[in-house]
C-alpha cells in the first residue's frame, strides 16, 4: 500500500511540474498586455511609463528568465504579487481555494448521495415502475447543463419558494447556518448533472455485476438477494463508477466557473476569470496552478478509492 501511495504521489508531483510549464506558457499566449491594459487609460500609452513598469515587473526579460524566476519562487511557496492590486497572490488563493473546494465537495456529495441510491434503485427494480422513474430522474439530471439547472434552482427555491438564498457568500465564521444555506443551491447546480451520470453508471455497472457467479455464490451461501447485492455486487460495481467520477471531476471544476458567476460565489474560478481580463499573469498562473493541484488531488483520491474497492489495482501500481 505504501509503495502504491509513493508511486502515485511521485507521478502527481511530476504532473504538477509539467502543468506549471504549461500554465506559464498559456498565460503568456493570451493576446494582450497587462501593462497596456493598466496604463492604457491613465497615460494614453506613454512609452516611457510602459517601459518603466515593464522593467519593474520583470516583463522585459526573456521568457526563460521570467519562467525560472517564477518557478524558483514558486518552489519556495512564493506565488508573486498581483500586477493589478499589488497584493500577494498566495493570500488571495488561500482565501479562495477552500471556497471552491467547498463547492466541489458539495457537488460531489449531491452526486454521490443522490446518484448512488438512484442507480441502485433503478438496477434493483429494473422492469418495474419505481425503477423506470429513477431512471428518468437520472436522465433528466445528466441532460440538464449547469447553467440551465442553476437558473431553474434559483427561480424555484430562491425566488418562488424563497427558502434558500439565491446567491451570495457569507463566511462560515460570521454565520455558520447562513453560510451553509448559501452553499445548498450552488452545490445542487454543480452536482445534479453529475448525479445523473453517477446514477446511470451505477445502474449499468450493478446490473452487470449482478450476473457474476460470485453473486450467485453469495446467494448460495444463504444471503438474501438484497444483502448479496449490497455486500458482494455493490463494492465491485463501484470500480467503474469511481473511474467515471475521476474522469468527470474536470467537468466539476469547469462547472464552478459558471456556478461561481451565477451565484456570486467568490471562489477560485471567479478570481481566474477576472485575472484573465486584466492579463494579471501572476494571478492567472497562481490560480491555474491551484486548479491543477485540486484536479491532481482529486485524481489521487480517486486512485486511492479505486484501490480500496479493487485490490487488483494495487497490484498493478
Amino acid at each position: 500500500m505504501l509503495r502504491f501511495l509513493g508511486h502515485r504521489l511521485s507521478s502527481a508531483l511530476l504532473t504538477l511540474a509539467i502543468a506549471a510549464v504549461a500554465v506559464f506558457l498559456v498565460a503568456r499566449m493570451i493576446p494582450g498586455d497587462p501593462v497596456m491594459i493598466m496604463l492604457g487609460e491613465a497615460t494614453g500609452g506613454d512609452p516611457a511609463a510602459v517601459a518603466r513598469m515593464r522593467n519593474e515587473l520583470g516583463l522585459d526579460r526573456s521568457l526563460f528568465v521570467q519562467f525560472s524566476n517564477w518557478a524558483m519562487r514558486l518552489l519556495q511557496g512564493d506565488f508573486g504579487v498581483s500586477i493589478r492590486s499589488g497584493e500577494p497572490v498566495l493570500d488571495d488563493l488561500l482565501l479562495r481555494i477552500p471556497r471552491s473546494l467547498e463547492l466541489i465537495a458539495g457537488g460531489l456529495l449531491v452526486a454521490v448521495l443522490l446518484g448512488l441510491p438512484l442507480g441502485i434503485l433503478s438496477a434493483r427494480n429494473r422492469g418495474r415502475l419505481s425503477g423506470a422513474i429513477s431512471s428518468i430522474v437520472s436522465v433528466i439530471g445528466f441532460s440538464a447543463p449547469v447553467f440551465v439547472s442553476g437558473v431553474i434552482l434559483v427561480v424555484v427555491f430562491g425566488v418562488w419558494l424563497q427558502v434558500l438564498p439565491s446567491s451570495g457568500y457569507v463566511p462560515f465564521a460570521d454565520d455558520p447556518l447562513l453560510h451553509l444555506s448559501c452553499l445548498v443551491l450552488p452545490s445542487l447546480a454543480i452536482g445534479l448533472n453529475f448525479m445523473g451520470v453517477v446514477a446511470r453508471v451505477t445502474r449499468a455497472s450493478l446490473i452487470d455485476t449482478m450476473d457474476n457467479d460470485y453473486v450467485a455464490l453469495a446467494r448460495a451461501k444463504g444471503l438474501s438477494r438484497g444483502r448479496a447485492m449490497i455486500r458482494h455486487a455493490l463494492p465491485n460495481a463501484m470500480v467503474p463508477v469511481i473511474a467515471i467520477i475521476g474522469i468527470r471531476a474536470g467537468n466539476l471544476l469547469g462547472g464552478t466557473v459558471i456556478v461561481e458567476a451565477l451565484f456570486d460565489w467568490p471562489g477560485l474560478s471567479s478570481l481566474l476569470v477576472s485575472a484573465s481580463f486584466s492579463r494579471d499573469y501572476p494571478v492567472i498562473q497562481g490560480s491555474l496552478i491551484a486548479i491543477f493541484a485540486i484536479f491532481i488531488l482529486i485524481s489521487l483520491l480517486i486512485d486511492l478509492a479505486q484501490s480500496f474497492f479493487d485490490p487488483r489495482v494495487r497490484a498493478t501500481a
Binding site: G222, L223, N236
Partner: protein
C-alpha cells in the same frame, strides 16, 4: 437405495419465456450418494442444479417438486430458503476466476457462511475459516486467508470454493462443472480433495458435468439429460456397461478414450441426435452431411520457393524464444521478464498433424501466435516451407497469410458480432481481392455446407448460433482461402463431444484431400491420440518431450508426460481411477 432419499426431484420443469430448459426431470439422491447429471450443452443440467437451489431469476417459471428430507422446497419462503442455502445445500461453481468475489479476502468469504448459519463471533468464524483452508490443503493457511482471489492460482481458488461449500457441513453439495476450467493435473487433485471432504462430511453430491471420464471416476448413479429431459438413469455400472438408451450409448462411444491405441483412418464416433430423437422441428442441427464435393477456391501458390516438396518440412522451428517484459514502467530495462517460449525446436512434415500439448501458462498459445506471425519471436527461426517467416514482406507476406490460417478457441470472441456469417467467412477472399460480391456469396454457401451447416445461414449473425456451430463457422473461414497450414489453438476444446467428433472428422477429411498440415494446440490429451501423428509436450516454455504419438502414449520418457497421462480421466470403469467404491 432403500433408505429414504435425502433429495427428491419430481417432475421439475423450468421455462425461460417460451423455452422449456428443463422438462419433467425427476431423480432421487440418497444420503451420502454421488449422483452425476450428465449432458451436453443445452441439456438443462446446470439449470437443474440452480433450480434445486432456488437460484433462478424471478422471470423464470419453475414447476414440480423439490423435496429435501420430505420438505417441499418449491413452496418454502425466501427466509427458509436462505437458511437452507449454504447450510443444508451448498454449491460449487465452474469458474474459479469469477465465482469468488474479487474484492474480498478469501478467509472472509469462507467465514461469511459460518457467520450466517452459526451463532459465532467474527474472530471464531475467522479461526474456523483458517482451519478449513488447512483442511482443503492450502499451506500457510493463516497468511492465505488474507489473500484476495487474484493472488491465488486456479486450483487454489477451487480449493477455496470447496472450503466455502463444506463450511457449514451441508447434507448436499451441488457441484456445477467444478473442474471443467482446470488443467487436467489440477482437476485430478481437486476431485480427489472434493471427494475426501465428501467422505469426511458424509454429504451427498449432485455433480453436474459433460465429462464422462470424470463420471466414471466418481459417480454412484448417473442421470443422462438431453434437451431438458431425462433420457436414462441408473447406477454408474449400468450406464457404462449396459446402457439401454441409444443416446447414452452414443455419448459413451463418442467420449474421447485416451486408452484406445492409435488406429490410422479411424473415424471419431459421432452422436446422431436426429436419428435417435427424430429431427427437432425448426432446428436443423446438423444440416446437410459434409459433402466433399463442395468447391473450395484453388489458390495458386505464389510464395516463391514453396512448391510442394515432400522433403521440405511444412514448418520448422529452430531455437525459438519469445520473452515478455513484465512491469518496469516506461524504461526499457528493469522489471521481470517472462520466457513464454524458451528455446523450442520442432519440425512438422507436410500433410501431417503435430499436437502441441501443454497446461495453462505453458507458452503453447504464444508459440502458435508466433507461427501464424501474429506475434514476433524474440529470437530463433520459423521456417515455413523453407522460408523465414519473420522476414516475409509485402506480397510474400500476403501469400503466407493466405496459406497459413488460424482457428482460435473462442469462436464468439473471434467473430465480429455485427457482420453476417457469410461476410465473416469470405472476408479473406475480399481482402485478397479474390472474388466479387456475388461469387463470395456463393463461396460462403459452399463453405458452410462443407463444414456441415445449412448454406442458408449465410445471412445470420454469430449470436444466432451455438458454440459448436460457431466453431464450424470459424473453420469455414479458415478454409475460405484454401490454406496449406492450419494453426488450431484449442479449436475443439470448448465443444461438446458429439460436435467435437464431427469437427475432428472434418479436419481429417480436409487433411486427406488437400494435404493440409496442422499445428494442433491443446491441453486435452484424450482427443490427440487418434488425431495427431506426432505429439510435443510443452511445459514452462520448453518442449520436454516429443515423438510419434503412440510412442508418447505407450512409453512416455519424461516424468511430466507421465503425470499428465496419469491424470487424464479414463472412461472405462475397469481402468478408471475411482475416488469412491463402485456401488453394488
Amino acid at each position: 437405495m432403500t433408505a429414504a432419499p435425502l433429495l427428491s426431484v419430481r417432475d421439475l420443469s423450468v421455462r425461460f419465456g417460451d423455452f422449456l430448459a428443463v422438462d419433467g426431470v425427476g431423480f432421487d439422491v440418497a444420503p451420502g450418494e454421488v449422483v452425476c447429471i450428465v449432458g451436453e450443452s443445452g441439456s438443462g443440467k446446470s439449470v437443474t442444479g440452480r433450480a434445486i437451489m432456488g437460484l433462478l431469476d424471478g422471470s423464470v417459471r419453475r414447476s414440480g417438486e423439490i423435496l429435501l428430507r420430505g420438505e417441499a422446497l418449491q413452496d418454502a419462503s425466501e427466509k427458509r430458503m436462505n437458511a437452507v442455502r449454504g447450510k443444508e445445500i451448498s454449491m460449487i461453481f465452474q469458474e474459479p476466476m469469477t465465482a469468488l468475489n474479487p474484492g474480498m479476502r478469501v478467509g472472509a468469504q469462507i467465514a461469511e457462511v459460518l457467520l450466517l448459519h452459526f451463532p459465532v463471533t467474527r474472530a471464531e468464524a475467522m479461526r474456523r475459516a483458517v482451519a478449513l483452508l488447512e483442511r482443503v490443503g492450502i499451506r500457510d493457511a493463516k497468511t492465505r486467508a488474507r489473500a484476495f482471489p487474484h493472488e491465488l492460482s486456479g486450483g487454489m481458488r477451487q480449493r477455496v470454493m470447496i472450503a466455502i461449500a463444506c463450511a457449514a457441513d451441508p447434507a448436499l453439495i451441488i457441484a456445477d462443472e467444478p473442474t471443467t476450467a482446470l488443467d487436467v493435473t489440477v482437476q485430478a487433485q481437486v476431485l480427489e480433495l472434493l471427494f475426501k471432504m465428501q467422505r469426511e462430511l458424509g454429504s451427498a453430491v449432485v455433480f453436474v458435468t459433460h465429462d464422462l471420464g470424470v463420471v466414471a471416476g466418481i459417480a454412484d448413479r448417473v442421470v443422462v439429460l438431453y434437451r431438458g429431459k431425462v433420457v436414462e438413469q441408473g447406477t454408474v455400472t449400468e450406464i457404462f456397461t449396459r446402457a439401454q438408451h441409444p443416446y447414452t450409448r452414443a455419448l459413451i462411444a463418442a467420449a474421447p478414450d485416451v486408452e484406445l491405441p492409435r488406429t490410422p483412418g479411424l473415424r471419431f464416433p459421432t452422436v446422431d441426435t436426429d436419428a435417435i430423437f427424430g429431427r427437432a422441428d425448426g432446428a436443423p442441427a446438423s444440416a446437410p452431411a459434409p459433402s466433399s464435393a463442395a468447391p473450395v477456391p484453388a489458390a495458386p501458390a505464389s510464395l516463391a520457393g514453396t512448391e510442394e516438396d515432400a522433403a521440405t518440412p511444412a514448418l520448422e522451428l529452430r531455437d525459438l524464444h519469445r520473452t515478455f517484459r513484465l512491469g518496469g514502467g516506461l524504461l526499457p530495462f528493469g522489471g521481470k521478464s517472462l520466457h513464454a517460449v524458451n528455446g523450442v525446436s520442432l519440425t512438422i512434415a507436410p500433410g501431417t498433424t503435430t499436437a502441441l500439448i501443454g497446461e495453462s501458462g505453458s507458452g503453447k498459445s504464444t508459440l502458435g501466435r508466433c507461427v501464424a506471425r501474429l506475434d514476433r519471436p524474440t529470437s530463433g527461426d520459423i521456417l515455413y516451407r523453407g522460408r523465414d517467416v519473420v522476414a516475409l514482406r509485402g506480397d510474400e507476406l500476403m501469400a503466407f497469410r493466405r496459406q497459413v490460417q488460424t482457428i482460435f478457441q473462442d469462436p464468439f470472441a473471434s467473430l465480429n458480432p455485427r457482420r453476417t456469417v457469410g461476410e465473416a467467412v469470405t472476408d479473406g477472399l475480399a481482402i485478397h481481392g479474390l472474388a466479387g460480391r456475388e461469387e463470395r456469396h456463393e463461396r460462403a454457401r459452399a463453405l458452410l455446407a462443407r463444414v456441415g451447416l445449412d448454406p442458408d445461414y449465410v445471412s445470420r449473425y454469430p449470436h444466432q448460433f451455438s458454440g459448436g456451430q460457431r466453431q464450424r463457422i470459424a473453420i469455414a473461414r479458415a478454409l475460405a482461402l484454401d490454406p496449406r497450414f492450419i494453426v488450431a489453438d484449442e479449436a475443439v476444446s470448448a465443444l461438446d463431444v458429439s460436435v467435437r467428433a464431427q469437427v475432428l472428422n472434418l479436419l481429417s477429411d480436409l487433411q486427406d484431400e488437400h494435404r493440409l498440415s496442422f499445428l494442433f494446440i491443446t491441453h486435452d490429451l484424450s482427443t490427440v491420440r487418434q488425431f495427431a501423428d506426432r505429439v510435443a509436450i510443452m511445459r514452462a516454455g520448453e518442449i520436454v518431450e516429443d515423438g510419434e504419438t503412440e510412442a508418447i502414449f505407450t512409453d512416455p520418457q519424461h516424468e511430466y508426460t507421465r503425470s499428465l497421462l496419469a491424470a487424464v480421466p479414463r472412461i472405462h470403469l475397469e481402468s478408471a481411477h475411482r475416488l469412491r467404491p463402485l456401488p453394488a
